[in-house]
């Protein structure tokens, strides 16, 4: 067991965790933040994407102890209260989601892009989002949603 302190969705928290605890388990099971989804478990699908100091990572490949001293953003921290983030609004308006299981990861990956590059080209969006699999949408509307959120085109 190890004590870790992190900034989670803007608030500082301290918890005891086992060395072997994965970040995805820590979030979902210890903190009951189930918006972060786990699918492939091997860092390929992107469903468990969270932001670590603003950068997208796979929570299924990251040990909870590794986020000590870092800022972690999960999907629960993207909206401000009831006010949705422009990416969330855009995903709703442009059909960027269907079953929704990959959506938290998609939105966090897109947020990292827009935070670093507020006006990406469509090709940049397409390339950046390659690590987040979606089986429902065929990606077109995810790309459209992100482009709309940053006023691309």
């Amino acid at each position: 067991m190890r004590r870790i302190t992190l900034t989670l969705n803007g608030a500082s928290i301290t918890r005891e965790v086992q060395d072997s605890r994965l970040l995805v388990e820590f979030l979902r099971e210890d903190l009951r933040l189930t918006g972060t989804k786990e699918s492939c478990g091997v860092g390929v699908c992107g469903a468990c994407t969270v932001l670590l100091d603003g950068y997208p990572i796979s929570a299924c490949l990251t040990l909870a102890v590794h986020v000590h001293g870092c800022a972690v953003t999960t999907i629960e921290g993207v909206a401000e209260g009831d006010r949705l983030h422009r990416l969330q609004e855009a995903f709703l308006a442009h059909g960027g989601l269907q079953c929704g299981i990959c959506t938290p990861g998609q939105i966090l990956a897109a947020k990292a892009l827009l935070d670093a590059n507020p006006h990406p080209t469509r090709a940049e969006i397409q390339h950046w989002m390659m690590g987040n699999l979606c089986r429902c949408t065929g990606y077109y509307k995810i790309i459209e949603s992100i482009a709309a959120a940053c006023g691309a085109e």
């Binding site: 933040l33 972060t36 699908c45 999907i75 989601l97 079953c99 397409q126 065929g138 990606y139 509307k141």
Partner: protein
């Protein structure tokens, strides 16, 4: 067909998804998100052998591991066999394991880690038995018989086709043999100008839903079994579970959860019965989540198929007769699908064409491989691939443009389908033409660039019972309760729009809730592109009843006869110069104890549709002649559509289906080695990513002939079926390499190129 008048407030608008906010904020609850106090984690030990006798299992060390609450082997679970039609799946292997990945023992423990550690401590002694991996071997007279005992078949299940079906015929390992004849094939072939015969192979692919199979079972002190499971048809699954565990249906409650993608793969109980055994053994709730390795190696992927087509044409390349033989590899168990054979394996085998004489044989065969299940338009992608390449090959031999070949043979009104059925308002030719125009079929193209076309025909699903409950509250808002989840398609949002349309109100005043299986009426669930049509008709029935109740209420309020009341705009009711809105009327009714109004609507479709839809896909590829790499540059997809309830979700179905087809065409393949799935990782099993999308243009031909009440047509299974053939045909057009199996692989293209170079 009478024009369908719409209010402009509901049907036809891109209404935002009802479940959208929950999903973009992470608040939607899937089966894996449900927390119950004291939940244990279940894991399975799986067979490393494709066919083996289980000599002994020693689980003592596993049982002794701290944190382990139960270890079950085949000896500890009931003899029940589960299946959606063929009841052949044991809860755990009993005495014999039939595929690599079959569940042999199960553990419930305080954590997944402990459960997995316990699996390592279970000693199983196996004696390997002869195995068969492909149907051709499995059907040989001396082949090892995978299920020597008689398999029970669920009562009341029959094919809806007029062909001849034999379950478990006297051919080794054959589950079903379906034959169908129409016309006189022998006579037609005897007078054919030319006869062509080709063989095709389509591998298994995984449905690729991102949410793995997940279930949670909790048994209450009163014996009520509560289930949270990623299943698209909770009422049917509840019935199967109740029967399997021997309790009345009302002692099992399937609770509503969001589903993280289905695509046909989530119709079975998968681990739920085993989960129940562990919950009973431990007295605690138990959760099972398949990991992605298990999903790929031991899920229920699409049937692989070998297809032989033999076709006679006249001198004008008109189809005279087709003989088809389709052999589906079902793997070790038949129970994952609810039908004797794959509907698409016969219904769509030449659906877009006029073929006066047909003979079809479809076999579904056991092998010692991963059990196969349904995937989006079951059977159709396999058969459509074969048919659409075969047609192209005939066109080439007959020196005919592939487009002209299809136009010449396209089915039109008055033609019989290959089944000898009639369908009306057929727009196959118009669909081809509209797509070809948008695509620029005849435009010049650079070298090593090719274009291909493929067609598909499929009616809206008109089967399975639906029951909905419509409530109109004292505030004038509607609530529609349905009994099955929105698997992601937008079904719940569409249901809200349909309710709203009946009353001329905005969809925003309709809430759709999914009831559990105790509170909601029977609903067959999302399958066979049925819900918009079939649930839509149940919604219409409920709305009709509610209009009568509303009219009576308004008549009372407005002091007139019910016959004088008219439903006006925005749901208002008018009679003799007076008008009252829904909300004030219902508020008035509430004060008199007459609210809410509640009506049930049912639909039990008696017969299949006589309407259908067509799609024509056009693909353009560029082939790198040095590496054989194929790049999909552009797709035009042309759809024959009726009224579109929600343009945004409709287009979402088209795009999502297309990219599944792109995966099947260019990268996805479950590879078996000695019966074991070796593409066991999402790194090896390559789903398309955002980098793989082609430039896409969608052409919609509105005015198609749809089903009542609003002339809608289905879209769910239209876009994913035929595109792989269009892509493969485009490769031939680009470089002259004819591929007869999927996926299109660079190695095969390169081999084809060097064969051609050698021959030249």
């Amino acid at each position: 067909m009478a024009a369908t008048e719409l209010s402009g407030k509901a049907v036809g608008l891109s209404v935002q998804r009802a479940d959208g906010i929950a999903k973009v904020t992470g608040r939607a609850r899937y089966a894996g998100d449900i927390e119950l106090p004291g939940t244990l984690f279940g894991r399975c030990l799986r067979s490393p052998h494709a066919s083996a006798r289980i000599v002994s299992i020693d689980a003592r060390r596993a049982r002794a591991l701290p944190g382990v609450h139960a270890v079950l082997t085949g000896a500890d679970v009931p003899d029940t066999r589960y299946g959606r039609l063929c009841k052949d799946i044991p809860l755990l292997a009993k005495g014999v394991a039939r595929f690599v990945g079959e569940k042999v023992a199960a553990v419930a423990a305080d954590s997944v880690e402990i459960a997995e550690a316990a699996l390592e401590l279970i000693d199983v002694a196996y004696a390997e038995l002869p195995a068969v991996f492909v149907p051709e071997d499995a059907m040989r007279p001396k082949a090892p018989v995978i299920h020597p005992e008689a398999v029970e078949i669920a009562a009341g299940a029959a094919t809806r086709s007029h062909g001849e079906l034999r379950m478990y015929p006297p051919i080794p390992n054959v589950i079903s043999r379906f034959t169908m004849r129409h016309g006189d094939v022998a006579a037609a072939l005897a007078r054919a100008h030319r006869i062509f015969e080709h063989q095709f192979a389509v591998p298994s692919v995984h449905q690729g839903y991102i949410e793995p199979h997940t279930c949670l079972v909790s048994i209450g002190v009163d014996g009520l079994v509560d289930v949270w499971v990623a299943n698209k048809g909770p009422h049917i699954a509840r019935g199967h579970m109740a029967e399997a565990i021997g309790v009345p249906e009302d002692r099992v409650r399937f609770n509503p959860v969001a589903i993280g993608g289905d695509f046909g793969g989530k119709g079975s109980l998968m681990d739920t019965l085993l989960c129940h055994c562990l919950a009973r053994a431990t007295g605690r709730p138990v959760r099972f989540v398949m990991n992605s390795f298990e999903e790929l190696t031991a899920g229920n992927p699409r049937h692989s198929a070998a297809i032989t087509l033999r076709t006679g044409v006249d001198a004008d390349a008109k189809l005279l007769a087709i003989e088809a033989r389709v052999i589906f590899n079902a793997g070790a168990y038949a129970g994952f699908i609810p039908a004797p054979t794959l509907h698409g394996g016969y219904a769509e085998f030449a659906g877009a064409y006029r073929v006066p004489n047909c003979a079809l044989e479809v076999l579904r065969v056991y092998t010692n491989t991963v059990p196969r299940g349904h995937m989006r338009a079951p059977g159709a992608p396999q058969v459509a691939f074969a048919v659409e390449i075969h047609i192209d090959m005939i066109a080439h031999e007959m020196r005919l443009d592939p487009l002209e070949m299809r136009q010449r043979n396209a089915i039109t009104d008055g033609d019989l389908t290959p089944h000898g059925e009639t369908r009306r308002h057929l727009r196959c030719r118009e669909t081809i033409e509209a797509g070809a125009r948008a695509f620029g079929w005849h435009r010049p193209k650079p070298p090593a660039v090719g274009r291909g076309i493929a067609l598909y025909e499929h009616p809206s699903g008109s089967f399975g019972r639906s029951t909905v409950t419509l409530t109109l509250g004292s505030n004038g808002r509607f609530t529609l309760m349905v009994g099955s989840p929105d698997t992601g398609t937008g079904f719940h949002t569409i249901a809200a729009q349909l309710v709203a349309e009946h009353f001329g109100v905005a969809a925003a005043v309709v809430d759709v809730v999914q009831g559990d299986t105790l509170t909601s009426g029977f609903e067959a669930g999302s399958s066979g592109q049925r819900v918009t049509t079939t649930v839509g008709q149940a919604v219409a029935a409920a709305a009709e009843r509610m209009k009568q109740d509303l009219t009576a209420l308004a008549a009372e309020r407005l002091n007139c006869a019910p016959g004088d009341v008219r439903l006006g705009e925005d749901g208002s009711l008018a009679a003799a110069g007076a008008t009252i809105g829904l909300a004030p009327l219902m508020s008035w009714a509430a004060a008199r104890g007459k609210a809410p109004l509640r009506c049930q609507g049912e639909n039990d479709p008696g017969r299949p549709n006589d309407r259908t839809s067509f799609v024509a896909h056009f693909a353009e590829v560029a082939v790198d002649t040095e590496t054989g790499q194929v790049r999909l540059r552009r797709v035009v997809t042309a759809h024959d559509v009726g009224t579109i309830v929600n343009p945004l979700t409709h287009q979402g179905q088209i795009e999502g289906g297309l990219m599944q087809a792109v995966g099947q065409a260019l990268s996805e393949r479950i590879v078996l080695q000695d019966g074991a799935v070796i593409t066991a990782h999402l790194g090896d099993y390559k789903l398309p990513t955002s980098m793989d999308i082609p430039e896409l243009e969608t052409v919609l031909l509105p005015g198609g002939s749809g089903a009542a009440p609003f002339a809608t047509t289905a879209i769910g299974e239209m876009s994913n079926v035929a595109l792989p053939a269009a892509i493969t045909n485009a490769v031939f057009d680009a470089v002259g390499v004819r591929l007869l199996e999927l996926p299109v692989r660079a190695e095969q293209v390169l081999e084809g190129l060097s064969d051609r170079a050698g021959a030249a």
